[in-house]
């Protein structure tokens, strides 16, 4: 058991090292959400109400980018390059390997939330989160759910060249519809229903409660339930559809 943990820790440290050595990945992970935040901040400046909506939205999008998007990319890349197959031939336990990989994504998500919180506080005047415990609960739930979905989604992607197309075909519409429904009160019912059924909008709601409104976790259990359901769905297909081998 302790050896499994030690090896997971070593894998995690290797993943961190590789992450920082890949400047484009680091850029997309950290700078892009900040740019969104800055851009949104400029457009919405003057309306604290709108800025209060911006911060939880960007925080949730960052979680999706660092877990769902990054893991889908990573798993397809590692699979198609043959790294997964090589690792499978070694005594490294599967749990340790994916533990390290996931922990890497979780670290990025946590760093991003910290950046968004700080930027919101310092640049946009949104104040510190009102409910740290709720922030932690939704961060953990969102990270777990979107990580599992990212790994599961990687199984759908046939080769590395098409990863961007596949990932954006999901990421952009989900972000768009979730932001839109969260922001606007006059949305067609069907669009609202779609957004509420997807995992991102409940995550934004949870963050919104934690950051801005301070409504209790008990009021947001339905949002948490939807995230948990997607998480279970993601876990099932992440494990079931897993392939160590290149498809092309």
């Amino acid at each position: 058991m302790s050896e499994t943990l030690t090896l997971a820790w070593r894998q995690y440290r290797l993943e961190r090292r590789m992450f920082w050595r890949n400047p484009s990945a680091a850029f997309f992970n950290f700078l892009l959400p900040l740019l969104f935040l800055a851009g949104g901040g400029i457009i919405l400046s003057g309306s604290q109400h709108d800025l209060d909506k911006l911060v939880p939205s960007i925080a949730a999008m960052s979680v999706m980018a660092t877990t769902f998007t990054a893991l889908a990319y990573n798993v397809v890349y590692l699979r198609e390059r043959g790294v997964l197959k090589r690792v499978r031939g070694t005594p490294l336990p599967t749990v340790s390997y994916f533990g390290g990989l996931m922990a890497n994504a979780v670290t990025n998500a946590a760093l991003q939330i910290a950046i968004v919180v700080l930027a919101g506080r310092l640049l946009l005047g949104t104040g510190w989160p009102r409910d740290w415990a709720q922030l932690a609960v939704f961060t953990i739930a969102g990270v777990a759910c979107l990580s599992a979905l990212g790994v599961a989604f990687a199984h759908v992607i046939p080769n590395f060249e098409s990863t961007a197309a596949y990932v954006n075909a999901v990421f952009l519409p989900v972000v768009f519809v979730s932001f839109y429904v969260f922001d606007s009160s006059s949305v067609p019912a069907f669009l609202r229903n779609i957004a509420e059924a997807l995992p991102l909008k409940p995550l934004i709601d949870g963050f919104s409660a934690a950051f801005v409104s301070g409504s209790s976790l008990g009021d947001n259990l339905d949002a948490l339930a939807i995230i948990a359901l997607w998480g279970a769905f993601g876990c099932y297909f992440a494990v079931r559809g897993f392939s160590w081998e290149s498809r092309s």
Partner: protein
């Protein structure tokens, strides 16, 4: 002690089916400890499928398999600590150096070899601190070797280890394999190069369409064939080669006829086929 207890690899009636396609059709192999065993055959013969079953990557459809005393399909960690695998195509992280990769890999094993020693053995000492993405194809292949060796495995699988190598790199790889053999390692290697099998393997199995067509030491394989080749040049200057299982009778017939015609059989020769001739004959289509 029975033969199976001392063998590194033992496969009996090994089969692998993909739907209606039979990739491996009842293969029997025994690889002794300390032996270099070559699986030789054209592309698509079933070499890689066979090796990947032995490595634990694929499940067999039928038959018995024992690798270092264990069933590889169970994928025990203990077994993977004792084997080293050089895949036909295995990727590596681009953003770490060979030294970092080897240190990381070494941590998976209970008694790893010294990283610097493995770097030297694989011929990567001067590239040890380069990012892997900047390594050439040949250097990456050496890294494949190094990663497979760092755990100090008893049994090493080499799947087409020198495909795409230039002649010097091939010689270097062969030298590495010989050193491993001298160190008492058991090696199962697949190749479609005859000279490689001849140079490295103690015993060779020629495989085609998922079946073993011939098995034995490379020197004896061609010689052990039933076919003798009798060749001579006719009075018209044409070189004739005939194959026979009974060279005595054929020679008697040929020389009798030649004497009756008052001709000489120039360049008359009787020989057994070489490994290359046997290979080409066995693996020819149709």
């Amino acid at each position: 002690m029975s033969a199976s207890a001392t063998a590194a690899i033992e496969a009996r009636g090994l089969c692998k089916r993909y739907g209606a396609f039979e990739a491996v059709r009842s293969i029997d192999i025994t690889v002794k400890r300390g032996e270099v065993f070559g699986l030789l055959g054209p592309n698509g013969a079933g070499k890689t499928t066979t090796v990947e079953i032995l490595e634990g990557y694929r499940r067999r459809s039928d038959g018995e398999v024992c690798v270092l005393g264990e069933d590889p399909a169970r994928r025990s960690r203990a077994l993977r600590q004792r084997i080293g695998i050089v895949l036909q195509a295995g990727g590596i992280y681009g953003h770490i150096t060979p030294r970092e990769a080897l240190r990381h890999w070494a941590s998976f094993y209970p008694r790893p070899r010294d990283v610097e020693e493995v770097l030297a053995l694989a011929g990567l000492a001067s590239q040890a601190d380069m990012r892997s993405r900047r390594l050439s194809g040949g250097q990456l292949r050496r890294l494949d070797f190094a990663l497979a060796l760092v755990g100090d495995p008893e049994l090493i699988f080499l799947d087409e280890p020198t495909t795409g190598f230039d002649p010097q790199a091939r010689r270097d790889a062969w030298e590495t394999v010989r050193k491993l053999r001298e160190g008492g390692k058991t090696i199962l290697l697949t190749t479609h190069y005859l000279d490689e099998a001849q140079e490295l393997a103690d015993r060779v199995a020629i495989i085609k369409d998922g079946r073993i067509l011939a098995i034995g030491p490379p020197r004896d394989l061609g010689a052990g064939s039933a076919h003798y080749r009798v060749s001579y040049r006719t009075a018209e200057g044409e070189l004739v080669e005939r194959q026979t299982d009974d060279p005595t009778a054929l020679l008697h017939e040929l020389t009798g006829e030649a004497l009756a015609r008052g001709e000489r059989l120039e360049e008359l020769a009787v020989r057994r086929p070489t490994l290359e001739e046997l290979y080409l004959e066995l693996t020819a289509d149709g």
